[in-house]
């Protein structure tokens, strides 16, 4: 599928489905080390994105990303809302007025998303947050820069999976899980997991 505004919208719809399917899993991950709402928060947000897209898809990929950003910011709440919202907002800014996203633009957007999350949340790698999924996702994407959009996103999703897995052994230092300290070891960070799910959904949509 071409990475036009329509393509991005389709990817977001696919992501909404994946989030709905994994709602309970994300709630349970958050129940273990947080407050049991991550799946609920993201479902609410992505359901709202799908509705917003129904009333009209913006003209550019940047417009679609911005719509996703503002919807997430105004519907999700919690930590994940502003963080994912900022990610999409920064990505949108990078996309400018391009009618279609190519690989270099995608890499720029991914890097901007990561930087946005870090600027907003102040987490670094190893803090056991979604940043731990995003960092390996961006490097893996950069490593696949010779391939197609789908290749790049698949590499990013693979990286995010590994990153999410890595949070199991970490002592959280940001977000709600940080209150638990060592007691959180052995649990995967729900935000890292949702990042991996979203990137996988985008990668599948791009095939």
């Amino acid at each position: 599928m071409a990475c036009t505004a329509e393509g991005v919208a389709a990817a977001l719809r696919a992501a909404a489905e994946v989030i709905a399917e994994h709602r309970t899993e994300l709630v349970d991950l958050d129940r273990a080390i947080g407050d049991a709402d991550h799946g609920e928060n993201l479902s609410r947000g992505f359901t709202a994105i799908v509705s917003a897209l129904e009333t009209g898809v913006p003209e550019t990929p940047a417009g679609v990303a911005k719509l996703a950003a503002t919807t997430l910011i105004s519907k999700v709440g919690g930590a994940a809302g502003p963080l994912y919202g900022t990610a999409f907002l920064r990505a949108s800014a990078k996309l400018g007025d391009a009618a279609e996203i190519d690989v270099p633009l995608l890499l720029d957007a991914l890097r901007a998303a990561l930087e946005g999350v870090q600027a907003r949340g102040k987490a670094v790698g190893g803090d056991a947050t979604m940043v731990d999924a995003l960092i390996p996702a961006v490097s893996a994407a950069e490593g696949a820069a010779d391939g197609t959009i789908a290749d790049v996103l698949t590499a990013a999703a693979d990286g995010a999976d590994r990153g999410a897995e890595s949070t199991v052994d970490l002592i959280p230092r940001k977000g709600r899980a940080s209150y638990l300290g060592e007691r959180a070891v052995g649990h995967m960070d729900p935000g890292a997991r949702s990042t991996a799910l979203l990137l996988r959904a985008f990668a599948e949509a791009a095939r």
């Binding site: 709630v27 129940r31 080390i33 947080g34 407050d35 049991a36 709402d37 609920e40 928060n41 609410r44 910011i73 105004s74 519907k75 999700v76 709440g77 919690g78 930590a79 994940a80 809302g81 502003p82 963080l83 907003r120 949340g121 230092r173 940001k174 977000g175 709600r176 940080s178 209150y179 638990l180 300290g181 007691r183």
Partner: protein, 333 residues
């Protein structure tokens, strides 16, 4: 899960409807985004005091809206911080040239969403300041973590800054006062059972029949450690020690003691715990000059209590005593 609800997704909106009709003399409720606003807002010339956060901690914050306390409360979904546009809505409904103080509990979600709202308000030339309360001694404070949580101290902070705003203090003064309160209030909580979030349907954590979660937060986040059930004397002693040694509070200090129910604790047990805390503080020479006992910052039906100590001086005592008229706290009017 057995709850007196209809659709779990509508719990907050339906509950706010009940609040609105029960307290129409004090407040108005707005829908989507949900807001609780003082009936006479905006109050001309007055600094607005606005707070909010996830729902499920009632009466915090909506139950504290009214003369002498909050101008608006922003209730998010259960245990989930509200979004920036909701906070912005509260600011718009209450804030004039005197500006507004946002009282934010230190949770990543609250901090991020209120921060964004404050930026948006600044862009509209409103003088909006934020303070972040982090009074929970259960959590290790460190720049390498999310830091301490905002818990029981929030209630006292909202009452005292609300009183200062009501008497006409400037935003600078109200903000400075808030920072002073935050600097000298400390809390600790314990849980005997877990809350059940409506959209989850299961208890937020599993606690054995003889276990207590020591240092619990107000969202069912686990605490400092899990300890075996023990006598009220021992448990309250442990709590007093944790709070007193932190600031520290010292012999001769005048304090307000706030003994809070987390929601499901019988009042019989709550006053029993309060009596023990008073005795232990007296033994340390700490002078309890004011007290608050009741369910004021809760975690749904969670059984447990928290203790909060605030160091008092004449100004804080006077502001605490000032008239207040809200659904949950009322005196002097």
């Amino acid at each position: 899960m057995k709850k007196i609800i209809n659709d779990p997704a509508a719990v907050v909106a339906e509950s706010l409807r009940g609040l609105a009709v029960a307290h129409a003399d004090l407040l108005r409720v707005r829908d989507d985004p949900a807001l609780v606003v003082r009936a006479d807002a905006p109050v001309a010339g007055k600094v607005a005091v606005v707070s909010g956060g996830g729902s499920g901690h009632e009466p915090l914050h909506g139950g504290f809206v009214g003369p002498g306390m909050l101008d608006a409360a922003v209730p998010g979904p259960v245990f989930t911080s509200p979004t920036p546009d909701a906070v912005q809505g509260a600011i718009a409904a209450t804030t004039g040239p005197a500006g507004a103080l946002l009282i934010v509990k230190n949770y990543t979600g609250d901090v991020l969403n209120f921060e964004t709202a404050a930026e948006l308000a600044a862009a509209e030339d409103l003088d909006v300041r934020s303070v972040v309360i982090d009074d929970d001694v259960a959590v290790k404070d460190s720049t390498f973590t999310a830091g301490r949580r905002g818990v029981g101290g929030t209630v006292l902070l909202e009452k005292i800054t609300g009183a200062a705003a009501e008497r006409g203090d400037s935003l600078d003064a109200v903000e400075a006062l808030a920072r002073k309160v935050i600097g000298q209030v400390r809390s600790i909580g314990v849980a005997l059972s877990a809350p059940t979030v409506p959209h989850v349907g299961e208890p937020s954590f599993d606690l054995g029949p003889d276990e207590i979660e020591f240092g619990i937060g107000i969202h069912g986040e686990p605490g400092r450690e899990r300890i075996p059930a023990e006598s009220a004397d021992a448990l309250v002693g442990r709590m007093v020690e944790a709070v007193v040694s932190d600031l520290p509070f010292e012999s001769g200090d005048k304090v307000l003691l706030f003994t809070n129910s987390m929601g499901g604790t019988p009042q019989l047990e709550l006053y029993l715990a309060h009596g023990i805390a008073e005795r232990l503080l007296a033994e340390r020479g700490i002078l309890v000059e004011r007290r608050l006992v009741g369910p004021y910052i809760t975690s749904l039906e969670m059984q447990g209590i928290s203790l909060t100590l605030l160091k008092l001086d004449d100004e804080l005592t006077q502001l605490w005593d000032a008239p207040v008229r809200t659904p949950a706290l009322r005196w002097g009017i």
